[in-house]
Symmetry: C2
Subunit: 143 residues, 2 copies
């Protein structure tokens, strides 16, 4: 496949809270961390997820986009078992993260999942999804 997406950048009003959630809560190592400006994490082959100070995000777009908070976005992290869904959500909850939906059967695709909200308003789905897999070439396969 031909990757089409190379960066996801999210405006954030609290870069330190984002750093704590991803680095300390999820245990991810930053790819690049520029305090007060931006933090990048690599989240897939060739793909970076960046948290960009909200004021600088607006500047970069010549203030043509009104940014208050991120909304309407869910990012999903698939894990290997139903137990791992619960373990991951419990770890985040112990750090004070808001749990939006406790682990349970999902309505779609035979998944088992729960949702939390990161400090920036982004919803994270933690899911066990036995009907989903990635082949050796990186192709996503359903069912």
């Amino acid at each position: 496949m031909n990757p089409e997406l190379h960066f996801i950048t999210l405006a954030t009003e609290d870069l330190d809270a984002a750093r704590a959630f991803y680095r300390d809560g999820l245990g991810w190592e930053p790819l690049l961390d520029v305090p007060g400006e931006i933090i990048f994490f690599q989240v897939a082959p060739g793909l970076s997820l960046g948290f960009f100070d909200a004021e600088k995000f607006a500047e970069d777009l010549n203030h043509r986009v009104a940014i208050t908070r991120v909304s309407g976005v869910t990012l999903s992290h698939n894990v290997g078992s139903r137990e791992a869904v619960a373990t991951t959500i419990d770890r985040l909850a112990s750090l004070g993260v808001t749990v939006l939906k406790a682990p349970q059967e999902g309505a779609f695709g035979g998944i088992y999942h729960g949702h939390v909200r990161d400090p920036n308003g982004i919803v994270w789905e933690i899911a066990h999804n036995p009907g989903w897999r990635i082949d050796e070439a990186g192709n996503v396969l359903f069912g």
Copy 2:
């Protein structure tokens, strides 16, 4: 590397407009298209980008998240040259897409870029970024 992100799901109030932008504007083939519900595109190895009808998005979270529009999100598509930045933005503009920032030098990292807005409010950066590359293992390298 260990991929951490498997799905990006964006609430959308107009699934047909999203389909037209991505399928017809960017030329991407849907991975799964369920009219009135959700459309998925594969955008990186193992990574799907989904557009989820806003009402169903809210239902899936037990209406615990107030969704109006997506905001504060930029997705970036890197292309091979400055000319390709202009060509891509011109093609989108010819379909009626709003150009937020005409192709120009960026403030960060030596990039050349421009920005458009998809029908859902998502900002797309189209960039030529000579300081960024992906090695054979999928690692992102800066500089």
